[in-house]
Symmetry: none
Subunit: 401 residues, 2 copies
C-alpha cells in the first residue's frame, strides 16, 4: 500500500482546522562558523511560544543533500513525493504568471530571439527587449490560429513569454527548439511518441506563422521554445485528505502550485495582514488553510542577512492573530532553506514546528535550527508532514485492528 492509499483509507472528518503556514526559504546558516542563523538571530517571541507548547523538528524537502525548487519544495509539504511527481518548467512558468492550466494543456517557455537573413540566431535574447515591447510582440502572436488547438500566448518579462497549446491528446515529450547557441537555426519540434508528435506538428505550424508575423520586427523577429510540459497527473489535495482546502498566497507561483493540487485559491491581498484578514473571513468555510509568506526567501536570495532577520520578525508578529483563531493544528515550516550566506535555495533541513492539543512536547523553547535538532519530530521527510498534521488533527483512524 502506498502512502496516498493509506491516507485515503484512514482519513476521517471531524470539523477540525489545520493551518499550514509556509515561510518560504525559512532555514538559514550563520555567516561565520559557530554564529547564529537568521532565525536564531531574529527576535521571535511568538514562534518561541509555539515551540514551547508544541513539538519541533527539521524537515528534509526531498532527500539529504538535495536542494529543491519551489515546485518540489511545496509538493513535499502538501504530501506528494517530489521524486514521483514532477512539475515541468513550462507548467511552472505558466503558474508563475497566474495562467490557469488545464489537463488539456501543454505549457512551454518561450524566448524571443533575433534571426539573421539566413534564419540563424544572432541574439538568443533578442537584445533584451523591454517588457512593454514583449507585450506588443505577444499581441501580434495572439493573432495566429492553428487548426486543431487553442493557443495562448502570455508575456512574462523582457524576452520571455509563455505559450500554451490546448487540445485533445497532446503529449509533452517534445524537444526544446532552442539550440542554446547562436549561428544556428532554431530546431524543429519533434515528438517522442504519437501524442507528442501531435503537439510538435501544431507547434511547428505556430512557429512558421510566427516567423511570418514577426519578420519585420528585428531584433525581436524570432522565437525559441523549451520546457514543454503537461500538468502532472495528481490526485487533488482536497480529495486525498477529505478537507475543504484554501490557499492564501500573495505570489502567483504559489497560488499556481496550490491550484495545481486542487485547492481553492482565495484573493488574499498583498500582505500578511490581508492574508490573515481573509483567513478570519473564511475560517468557517474550510478545513485546511495554506498560507504562504515569500519574503524570508527573497531576502535570503538577495544575500541580505539583516533583511531576512527583519522579515522573520515581521512573520513572527502575525502569529498571535493566527493562534487567536484556535486552529486545531498550526504548522510553521518552509519549503526549503535559503541561507543569505549562499544567496540561493539550499539543501539544509528546514526548522518546523507543530502546535496541537495532543503533541508530545519536547524540551525546545526557542524556534531555531539548532534547537529544532533536539525536537520531538526529529528529522523527517517533508512529504510526511501532512501525515503529522492529519494525525494531530484527529483526522486519521487506526491502521489495522
Amino acid at each position: 500500500m502506498n502512502t496516498h492509499e493509506l491516507i485515503q483509507e484512514l482519513r476521517e472528518k471531524n470539523g477540525s482546522k489545520i493551518v499550514l503556514f509556509v515561510a518560504d526559504g525559512l532555514g538559514g546558516l550563520p555567516l561565520t562558523p559557530g554564529g547564529l542563523t537568521e532565525l536564531e538571530t531574529a527576535k521571535t517571541p511568538n514562534l518561541d511560544a509555539c515551540a514551547k507548547v508544541g513539538v519541533t523538528g527539521l524537515s528534509l524537502p526531498v532527500l539529504p543533500g538535495i536542494t529543491p525548487g519551489s515546485g518540489p519544495g511545496h509538493l513535499g509539504l502538501f504530501g506528494y513525493d517530489p521524486l514521483e511527481y514532477r512539475i515541468g518548467r513550462g507548467i511552472l512558468e505558466a503558474l508563475g504568471i497566474n495562467f490557469q492550466v488545464t489537463a488539456k494543456d501543454v505549457a512551454i517557455r518561450g524566448n524571443f530571439c533575433t534571426l539573421g537573413a539566413d534564419g540563424k540566431i544572432t541574439d538568443r535574447r533578442a537584445g533584451r527587449p523591454t517588457t512593454e515591447r514583449c507585450v506588443e510582440i505577444v499581441n501580434k502572436l495572439r493573432t495566429i490560429k492553428v487548426p486543431g488547438c487553442e493557443l495562448f500566448v502570455e508575456p512574462v518579462k523582457e524576452h520571455r513569454f509563455v505559450l500554451v497549446v490546448r487540445g485533445e491528446g497532446l503529449g509533452d515529450k517534445v524537444n526544446d527548439t532552442d539550440p542554446q547557441a547562436v549561428g544556428v537555426t532554431p530546431l524543429p519540434a519533434k515528438g517522442a511518441d504519437p501524442a507528442s508528435q501531435k503537439t510538435a506538428d501544431l507547434i511547428n505550424q505556430f512557429i512558421a506563422k510566427a516567423n511570418e508575423v514577426l519578420k519585420a520586427d528585428a531584433p525581436t523577429n524570432g522565437l525559441t521554445l523549451r520546457g514543454f510540459a503537461s500538468q502532472p497527473q495528481i490526485i487533488s489535495f482536497p480529495e486525498l485528505y477529505g478537507m475543504r482546502s484554501a490557499a492564501l498566497a500573495v505570489y502567483p507561483m504559489y497560488r499556481g502550485l496550490a491550484r495545481l493540487v486542487g485547492m481553492d485559491i482565495l484573493d488574499a491581498g498583498d500582505s500578511l495582514g490581508s492574508q490573515v484578514a481573509k483567513l478570519k473571513e473564511v475560517w468557517n468555510d474550510y478545513d485546511f488553510f495554506f498560507l504562504h509568506y515569500k519574503y524570508t526567501d527573497s531576502t535570503g536570495e538577495d544575500g541580505n542577512f539583516p533583511a531576512k532577520v527583519q522579515m522573520i520578525e515581521r512573520f513572527d508578529a502575525i502569529i498571535p492573530e493566527v493562534r487567536a483563531l484556535k486552529p486545531d493544528v498550526l504548522i510553521v515550516t518552509g519549503d526549503h532553506s535559503t541561507p543569505s550566506k549562499m544567496k540561493s535555495h539550499s539543501f539544509h533541513p528546514v526548522p518546523t514546528l507543530l502546535v496541537a492539543d495532543d503533541v508530545r512536547t519536547d524540551e525546545v523553547t526557542e524556534f531555531g535550527e539548532r534547537n529544532c535538532l533536539r525536537g520531538g519530530l526529529g528529522q523527517f521527510q517533508a512529504m510526511h508532514l501532512m501525515l503529522l498534521a492529519m494525525a494531530h488533527a484527529g483526522r486519521f483512524g487506526k491502521y489495522g485492528a
Copy 2:
C-alpha cells in the same frame, strides 16, 4: 525517479575536492554499561576539531539492526543501495585476493576436501593443509583446460581457493557443490537458467578433470565449490557522480571494492603515512578520494579494546595532514561498527563527521557515539552520505524549478 537518476540529473562539475576517509568498523560499545566506547576513550584532538567546525551524525549502514559485511558496508558509503546491489561471495573472495574480475567472469569460492574411495567426503577442509600446500595443489589445477572458457585458479589460505570461469554469456545461478556434510558426495553443479546451466556444464567438466588430476593427493584429493557470483551490474562511481575518483587503500578487499565501482586504484603503500603521501602526490589529478583504514576494525574483531583505542588515536594523528590539503569536503566515517566487546561487525550506527564551508554546524565539539546523537546530520542511511558530500561540495544543481 530513483536516486541514481536524480544524481545524474543534478550533478555539476566545479573543481572541488571530496575526501571520504573510512575508518573500518569505527563505531564501538562500552565494555561496561554506561562506560565509554573505544572512540570516546581515545584522545582525538584532531577529530574533535573537525566535529567543532563541521557537522556530525550517525550513519545506518543498511537498515536499523542490520549488520553489514564489508561489501554492503562500502556500497552504502559509495551511494549504492546495499539491498539492491549485492556482491556475491565468490566475487568478494576474488576481490580479497586482488583478482581483477571482469564482466565475463563467474567467481567461485573453493574448498579442498578429502574424498574416500567411494567419492564421499571424509573431511570438508582436507585436514587444513598449509597455505604452501594450497599453492601446490592450485598449480596442479591450473593445468586443466575446459573448452569454451578461460579458467583461473587462485590460492587463498589453507584449504581455500578461488576459481574464476571467464566466458561469454555465463550465468551465476548455480548451486553450491558443497553438501555441507561428510559421508556424502559433492553435488553436481546445476544452473537455474540456460546461461547458468552453461556455467554449470563448464564447472562439471572442471571438477571431473580436477578429481583426476588430484586423485593421488589425499587428503587434498577433492574440492567443493560455493558462492557462484558474477559482478553486479552497477553504474560506475566516476560516471554516476561525474568525478575522477581514486582509491587509496592498503588491503586488497577494499581496493577490490573500489575497483568494482570503477575507481582508479592507486598504489598507496602499506600505512596511513604512505596513503597520505600518495594523496598529496595525486591531489590535482582527482576530484574524489576514498581512503581506507583497516585497523579500527581488525582490533575490534580481536576484541582488543585498548588496541582499538590506540588505532583510533593513530588515525586521529593523520587528520591534520589531510586537512592541510584543504579538501572542500572531508568526511570521516566507518562502513559499520566493530565493538571490541562483540569481537565482530555490528549493527550499531556509525559516528560520522563532515567538514565543509556551508555546513550548518551543530553543538557537537567532540567526536564520539553519544555526541554524534546530537549532531546536525541526525541518523541517516549510509547510502545518502554521498548526496551530502556532493551537496556540500557545491556539485549539485537545484531539483526542479
